[in-house]
């Protein structure tokens, strides 16, 4: 029987029969549907995906006219950073890199940020960051957002001044663990607002909060409040890109507009982000490297569809290394990246990536 060559979630090769391939999509889809209590992929959608993956061509793409716009996180880290950011250590600075993304790569928009991508270290470089934004705003044409990760984890000992909630929880000090997250969340919010406001002043087209809720519900709450500030006080757009499919309840009882943030799935995250005033929402489905790409893509598409079905704002699912069905490997193979890319639009109905 003919075997179909595709990839595992770690980017390695794997072969399936057509029936096995179909079952991978179904299993991934049902996994997400059961977890988040949302509809799985339909038979027709699975048929499209099977045909796409069964095609022997190296790359795939959307139908002409179905193209979408790209927003970007991590600035030009992939050009001038190290292996940590899949960077190729190209000898270019940030200004040159952004211009290359505009002119050489034809990107639809771009994000400016520091290589050390969290708001806490960026705040110490505020004046430098402002200058780079100011200069780039005068020399580029495409929309430029300023971005960072809120990364609440950096505010806890040993990286920061606040008691570490994970240590406190191990000692059974649950109330103390919650209190330290609330205090750190306030400081994180203060930093997010300070860095957002100064970039608005420099002429940025918007703010991008990336890898949101990586430290759980306390971090998500800080980002929602910061989004509310930027959207309502300045009128400028905010993009929120999440870090994973479910908000971890590190605190457990933090709410936004009466809704408990812990345990929220992408379609629920979208709703609170919209209430906060977000302009673009980026849902995430993390890749399980021990499962196949079809399994991971099936899972990701269910989460994305649950957002695009109800969204009032554009949905840009995260499709970088290790998310959105894309393998967790620093040089992801184009055969599966292009298929995940097209599937997010043709099946997921994404407004951008």
């Amino acid at each position: 029987m003919t075997k179909i060559l595709t990839r595992m979630g770690d980017n390695s090769n794997v072969e399936f029969t057509k029936d096995e391939l179909r079952q991978e999509f179904i299993d991934g889809s049902e996994f997400a549907a059961q977890k988040a209590k949302i509809p799985p992929l339909t038979e027709n959608e699975i048929d499209y995906l099977v045909d796409m993956f069964a095609a022997p061509t190296r790359i795939w793409g959307v139908q002409r006219g179905h193209e979408v716009v790209m927003t970007k996180d991590g600035c030009v880290n992939a050009l001038n950073s190290s292996q940590m950011s899949s960077g190729v250590v190209a000898p270019v600075n940030r200004e040159v890199g952004v211009r290359l993304y505009e002119s050489m790569l034809g990107f639809d928009s771009m994000e400016i940020s520091h290589n050390d991508y969290s708001v806490k270290p960026q705040r110490f470089l505020k004046k430098l960051e402002m200058l780079h934004v100011e200069i780039l705003m005068e020399t580029t044409i495409f929309p430029l957002l300023y971005g960072f990760m809120p990364n609440l984890g950096l505010y806890f000992k040993t990286d920061g001044p606040f008691d570490n909630p994970y240590d406190l929880m191990q000692q059974g000090k649950i109330e103390e663990a919650r209190a330290t997250q609330e205090a750190a969340g306030e400081k994180c919010l203060e930093d997010c607002i300070e860095m957002s406001d100064c970039m608005v002043e420099m002429g940025a087209d918007g703010i991008d909060y990336d890898t949101v809720a990586s430290t759980g519900d306390g971090e998500f709450a800080a980002v929602l409040k910061s989004t509310e500030h930027v959207a309502k006080k300045t009128g400028l757009p905010v993009e929120i890109g999440m870090s994973t499919e479910m908000v971890t309840g590190v605190h457990g009882s933090i709410e936004y507009n009466g809704k408990r943030l812990a345990g929220m799935w992408p379609h629920q995250q979208l709703q609170v982000c919209e209430e906060a005033g977000v302009s673009i929402f980026g849902p995430v489905s993390t890749t399980n490297s021990k499962k196949s790409t079809p399994w991971n893509l099936g899972k990701a598409l269910v989460f994305v569809k649950s957002c695009t079905d109800i969204a009032k704002v554009p949905i840009h699912p995260n499709v970088g290394m290790g998310v959105g069905g894309v393998p967790m490997f620093e040089t992801p193979a184009v055969d599966v990246v292009t298929r995940c890319s097209a599937a997010m639009i043709e099946i997921g109905k994404a407004d951008g990536l």
Partner: protein, 114 residues
């Protein structure tokens, strides 16, 4: 989008799914998504109507390369005399009937008004 080496990630998504930025009209559609929270079909229709083309034309590097030069809103290849940087964005703001933050800042700094 996300991280990954440029050839495996950014170029792959660009070829598979992207409107192509200033190579076509991706930057203009992105502006409508950001500034007006328009979803993709609405954003494309808005821009297409303003440019008097079809939504399909917005991703076409042939149509848009010629039209961008004619409208003087910046081109991907270097053409002497065609608007660049903030000059192109000032013209885009007028064309799309939107405010662009840095253009507004530029007006304040220079005292120019239009």
């Amino acid at each position: 989008m996300g991280t990954g080496d440029p050839a495996g990630m950014h170029m792959a998504h660009l070829l598979a799914s992207s409107m192509g930025g200033i190579r076509a009209a991706g930057d203009l559609v992105a502006r409508m998504q950001l500034s007006k929270k328009m979803r993709i079909d609405e954003a494309k229709k808005y821009v297409a109507d303003k440019l008097h083309v079809t939504p399909l034309d917005l991703s076409d590097p042939h149509t848009m390369r010629l039209l961008r030069e004619e409208l003087d809103i910046g081109t991907i290849t270097g053409v002497p005399g065609v608007a660049k940087g903030i000059a192109a964005k000032a013209r885009i703001a007028q064309l799309l009937d939107i405010e662009i933050n840095c253009v507004e800042q530029f007006k304040k700094k220079t005292g120019l008004h239009w």
